[in-house]
Subunit: 456 residues, 2 copies
């Protein structure tokens, strides 16, 4: 019987590594210089000086990344991936026209598992190439999104979506929950897939369903992914209908806790902020979507001052045509400064933590991802800082947040597997599958045109 | 005697062309489909259907750009290019610390013609590769900036800089003006170079000098490029010192007219806005810099409603580490929507006009550049819309503003010369010169380190 082979190890040797840690003041956390990340299968074994890594692992494969910064994979805390097929279909329209004249008519006629699979493939591939290794998605037919995520190789959390009214996907809260929970049961041990309960928003889900969701969340330990206080109208209508602000209502129903991922959270008063802080809830901040739909600017400097955990999301391509978490993070940092009048709000290292570890914590995945530490999954991004437009490099993390673009991402690993190498999807099979989807975008575009022109 | 050869013509055949016109409602201006831009030497001869262009020009060179959108070259309306060498040197610091502890000490010890040449080369190359074909620069030793611009091949306007106090470059307003005007005289017929008077700001230039500048502007027809109302403190201090708001003071001194390029213009009350509108002045909007230094957000939706011309600028790399006019334009469009509550503020086509024709008009160059029209200079940018992350394409201009990044710019022409081809600087000599500068960035970085650590 042959001796069991010692497991294959890979040394990722980067000029700089920003491990991201929860316990330190991120601004004071220096980059590791000349270190290697030792990866075995899906996990990080250790992060040590390169010399030491080579001595410990004489037969390991080396990946040399001179001039590169390696950081934890980005976690996109809010997306509707399938909507990539509706990218740009209602630009520059006010929210109500956008929804009533474009998104809803299109969704009611177009959305099926094939639409969700194709759109999600397009979106997940875009995210992965830009350094996003984990995405929190919310859409109809999540089984099709899961399929797309696994086909592309991205880690994903999927919403067990619930709305009060019937859609092409289900008819009533009980059916939405039944379908979503069945999918979750089927995949509960999958290493790359997790789930959130996803009641769409306070204005689309009744008290009864929300109460039931709070109970299921506690029983199963599932996060609750919900749109909250996106527009001023939503808050006003919530007060008119329920006699209290939506967040106060959610709080009374038991939903404002550490499991809550409050998406948008733009229009907040002091009471709303206190509830989020007291509940240890998380916010999924989507600055570009909030701009494009003219919703406003979330008070994110205030959130950080109050200790509220904030992750960053792209939202879907119909309200943010670019699924670029690095660009979204730069916008988050600059808006926090612009609106607070404090140039030291959301400093670079703190922003990096928001888009990695804080978002992982919101998803309940911080034991597994979000930082570069021994024992965690090897979800990693390498960025080449040698481009002329990135020189000189006074501080690699500052350069990442304020100067880099997704165009500087060269390599991406998910669970130790290289999914992007030298700026390309690494797996030829994935590239082929994506090409097929790209080929079908014209078909989807024609169908959209037919629906909007009233020809169907 | 040989028959004079008919001049060489090039047909740029793009799937879509957005010509940008002043006279129409930009949102209603459709893209030209299947047209060719006929270029002869430095100029656009005509823009006609491809078939017709080929019939008229049977011997012309063809550049086929399937799936590409071609738009006028971007005009960066405010930059301090040389500061690329200080990219990231004072990130996340409040403005006063940023200036007092970093920028001023460094500038006083580092800045010389070599610093300006190297930094400007780095910045202009970055801009050019991102589609910027014309830049309005303001810095000490403009002769070195001009040299860098011509070396890289970008069109440029240079500030005849004036401040009241002595710097490494000059000692008093008279000397600043003398040096700048001498340079302008030397280059006044250069096809790629123009000049602005550049009094730094109301708080750094006295009434006497400003009056003189207004007179010179009228006599020579030169724009006046000046920082205005960047911070609330600046406005308050202006009132304390002069008894009126800085814009009111500039107006009284004769500077608020069509020749004015008011940079930043963040903190404006109704009276300020009315003055800019009544004077037909232009604004150079720098959203990322205003965010990074926590200055605030300029009221740009309001400016458009009042008919104020707004161009877009990157500012220098020390306050906006990424010299990416396309990214800056997206931020401008999204911020206008977010702050006005109107999703139809700054629609895509209007934003494209801001970053091209409106900025060209501000510089007094709208007869020559800013749109794709017969007789104008062939300053052009081609963007490849075939990337998976840009599909489907419902509206090419909307895709440009909301989804594209500078990474999708493939080809750039300045005055008919291809300066970027297939994403690379086209001229091997320029690439070599840039490599030399890149090699020296380490030396500059070391000197910065020495100065900041007090070792010099």
């Amino acid at each position: 019987m042959p001796t069991p082979r010692s497991p294959a190890r890979t040394l990722i040797e980067a000029q700089w590594i920003a491990p991201v840690q929860a316990r330190t003041d991120p601004s004071a956390e220096p980059c590791l210089v000349g270190h290697a990340i030792v990866v075995e299968n899906d996990r990080i074994v250790e992060v040590v000086p390169q010399e030491q890594a080579r001595q410990h692992n004489p037969t390991a494969e080396h990946i040399a990344l001179p001039g590169h910064l390696v950081v934890p994979g980005f976690v996109n805390l809010h997306a509707h991936a399938a909507m990539a097929l509706l990218r740009g279909v209602g630009d520059d329209l006010p929210l109500s026209a956008w929804l009533r004249e474009r998104i809803w008519p299109l969704e009611s006629q177009l959305v099926d598992p094939q639409f969700v699979r194709d759109g999600s493939m397009l979106a997940f591939a875009e995210m992965l190439r830009g350094g996003t290794t984990c995405v929190n998605d919310m859409y109809f037919f999540p089984e099709a999104s899961v399929e797309a995520a696994l086909a592309v190789g991205i880690r994903s959390a999927h919403g067990i979506i619930v709305v009060d009214f019937p859609t092409v996907y289900a008819s009533a809260p009980a059916e939405y929950l039944r379908k979503g929970l069945a999918l979750r049961d089927r995949l509960r041990d999958h290493p790359l897939v997790s789930f959130c309960l996803a009641p769409h928003a306070p204005y689309t889900v009744s008290d009864d369903a929300l109460r039931q969701i709070a109970t299921i969340s506690r029983e199963l330990g599932l996060p609750i992914h919900i749109h909250v206080h996106e527009t001023a109208e939503e808050v006003a209508e919530g007060i008119a209908q329920y006699g209290k602000r939506p967040l106060a209502r959610l709080d009374a129903l038991g939903l404002v806790g550490p499991e809550m991922i409050a998406v948008h959270a733009v229009h907040l008063n002091d009471d709303d902020l206190r509830r989020l802080a007291a509940g240890a809830a998380s916010v999924a901040h989507c600055p570009h979507s909030n701009g494009k739909l003219a919703c406003g600017i979330a008070p994110t400097a205030r959130m950080h001052e109050m200790g509220i955990r904030v992750g960053i999301g792209t939202d879907g391509s119909a309200s943010n045509n670019r699924l670029d978490l690095l660009g979204e993070a730069r916008a988050a940092a600059l808006l926090a400064k612009a609106t607070s009048g404090r140039a030291d709000a959301w400093p670079a290292a703190r922003t990096l933590r928001a888009m990695t570890l804080d978002a992982a914590t919101a998803l309940g995945l911080d034991e597994r991802i979000g930082s570069i530490e021994a024992g965690k999954q090897a979800d990693l991004v390498a960025i080449d800082l040698r481009a002329p437009e990135l020189l000189p490099v006074y501080d690699p993390v500052s350069q990442l947040i304020y100067a880099c673009g997704r165009e500087h991402v060269t390599d991406v690993w998910v669970a130790g597997k290289a999914v992007v190498r030298t700026r390309q999807l690494a797996d030829p099979g994935v590239r082929d599958a994506l090409s097929e989807v790209v080929g079908r975008t014209g078909v989807w575009q024609n169908r959209v045109g037919e629906i909007l022109s009233g020809r169907v």
